[in-house]
Amino acid sequence: MFTLAVPGFFVATLVAAAVVVGLHLLARHERRAEPLPTARFVPNDMASSVVRIDRLRDLALLLLRIAALLLIGLATARPTWVRRTTETMRVILVDRGALASSNAAMDSVLALTREAQSSIIAFDSVPRIVTLAALGQEFRDPPASRAVDGAISAALVAGVREALALLPRYARVELHIVSPVTRGAGDAATLAIRRQWPDSLFVHRTSPADVGMSSPSVDLEIDVDDPIGAAARLALPLGNTSGIASVRMRRGLPSSADSAWGRTSGRVLVSWPARDSSSTPDTLAAVATTQGAMVGFFTRSRTPESGEAIAWWSDGEVAARELPNGDGCIRMVGFSPSAMGDGALSPGMQRMMRRLAARCGSDVDTSLLPSHELAALVAPPAGITPPAAVARRAAARSWLSVWLLVAGLLMLLAEWYLRARPENAPGLPVGGVR
């Protein structure tokens, strides 16, 4: 199949060629006369033979000029010749990270591969091209052995590269993602990488993997009028526990019963500072985690000296720590949001809540990507038409332009030679001479 990366150049060349033809048909040549003092001795005959001969040469000149124009115009239009089938090819990016459900993913992949030829790329933090059989074998491994979460950015890089390489050979190439698509799977570069693919992105959202929790739950022993309680209820709705471990939140130091509860694997106990009605916010600062920051009024408290820091004040002091508790963990928080204002309900506070409620040892935001953000990921980028974008990439390595340019220059050389020969002067006006 023959494609042009910049067809506008070729269209301009066609217009130029039409102009050349028009000028050729309309122009009346006045022969450039050579001086000869004895011209009077030349018989004053009608020079019809001259007209005939020169018209033939003029035609050859015209054809050479048009050929040169078309060849050079075609070269500048960056043509590519590829052999294409009429089939569709699918590039399937399959999330095999810790949060991906094996059964749901395999079902989606099998359905996709049944309908069209496919190239499968399995990814967690590293994408790899695999066969369907190899993918099935990987998914037969227990989810706990797949401890690394899927990274969509890395998958998109490999997927877009594969799709662009296949695009010249197939009538259509589709890019599919099979993944739970959590917030933590993407990063700041994901959208920019996605825009490298000029067409739509097909997302097959699967349910998250069962990571071993018997029954995810959120236990809030905090009053509703408590800003922490309000924030937790907003960020951790009881009906949506996907990706979130069992979590219990308390004000004040945890009791022995709480500690015993938190020893089981997959459970998180979050201990907030005790509420003191007489205390007033004494700190206007920012608290940051690996997933974001929030600024506001806080009541500052001390945190244990040991444990992994999971939140920090803007002055560098640790604001929250995670301590192992058997197979679970306890998170000791050293700040309380102010009851005044709506800071407790802000998106920053919600991110903070989800971070504090994440499973032990992980700072990945395992909540699902909201629909509007998913739609932004799926939609094709504006301003790029797939054929032009693909043709530009394919033509980057095309040698056809070079050969066409050389051929055009040779035509120009031939035209110059034919025109410069003494017997090839332009033709006489029709009807002879005086």
């Binding site: 022969r31 003092p37 005959d45």
Partner: protein
């Protein structure tokens, strides 16, 4: 009127003609007629003088110088005869050169004007070497370049400088020059005769009838004798409205017409009493000079 004495002179010197002048050194240019000059020179004179070279006897007439009586013949025959001898005199030579635009053809190689200058300089050197006064007249569109005949040293150089200041251009007429009192008894006309040839010939015929010696040198270019075989439009450089197509079909007609014209030209000039020589522009000038001198 530009004069050779006043003109700054073109860059032309005799240096380019050194080899040619060496070749023609020693040649003589005898007059075809008896010269009528008074001053002694190299040419047979119409006058009978007292030189030792006996020419003829004439019966003594009253008034003749008695010193010229041949006393021995008187003693033998009792009849008085005067001994007459050959006299030689100079022959003032003037070169009339055509500097019209057609003389600049061809633009590449040796043009007719280049050949004209070479012939004029070499013939003037020959005549000057014979002791004859030489001069030239070149009508141009801006006036005439004229050097009156003279014998002094450096005359040939002066002629060369004067010719260096001339560029063939336009269509100056030569015929009016011949109608003037040129103070020369031998006129060498070097031209392609594509201008006012008939008027020039009439002027020359008048000069011949007055006892003068006219030498017509017709300069043609090789490209005029053998024009290019390619098809093209040609134009007369002196007449922009004269345009003809030169094709393989018209070329044969051109060659025939041009040859016929040249033949008629030579016949007409010879009939009027002039010496006529045709010279090709790229011909060896030394050979051309010898042919002219032998004509």
């Amino acid at each position: 009127m530009p004069n050779a004495h006043d003109a700054p002179g073109g860059p032309m010197t005799l240096a380019p003609y050194g080899a040619l002048l060496d070749t023609v050194r020693g040649l003589t240019w005898p007059s075809r007629r008896r010269a009528s000059g008074v001053l002694p020179g190299a040419h047979e004179s119409r006058r009978r003088g007292t030189s030792p070279e006996l020419s003829e006897y004439r019966a003594y007439r009253q008034g003749d110088d008695p010193k010229q009586l041949d006393w021995k013949l008187l003693a033998r025959t009792d009849r008085a005869f005067i001994r007459l001898a050959e006299e030689r005199s100079i022959l003032s030579t003037l070169f009339l050169l055509d500097a019209s635009a057609s003389m600049a053809f061809p633009a590449r190689g040796t043009s007719k004007w280049d050949a004209t200058c070479a012939l004029a300089i070499s013939l003037s050197a020959v005549a000057h070497g014979d002791g004859d006064p030489v001069g030239l007249v070149v009508p141009t569109e801006r006036g005439e370049v004229e050097i009156s005949p003279r014998t002094r040293r450096g005359t040939v150089h002066e002629l060369a400088r004067a010719l260096g200041s001339v560029t063939p251009h336009g269509s100056p007429m030569l015929a009016p020059i011949l109608g003037r009192n040129l103070r020369a008894r031998r006129i060498a006309i070097i031209s392609d005769f594509l201008g006012d040839e008939a008027a020039i010939r009439r002027g020359a015929q008048t000069l011949v009838s007055q006892g003068g010696d006219v030498c017509a040198i017709h300069v043609v270019a090789r490209e005029e004798l053998q024009p290019a075989t390619s098809t093209g439009m040609i134009v007369d450089p002196e007449r922009a409205d004269l345009r003809r197509p030169l094709t393989p079909g018209t070329r044969a007609g051109y060659l025939a017409h041009f040859a016929a014209w040249r033949e008629e030209l030579a016949r007409a000039w010879r009939l009027c009493g002039a010496a006529f020589t045709e010279v090709v522009a790229d011909e060896d000038p030394a050979r051309a000079v010898r042919r002219i001198l032998a004509a």
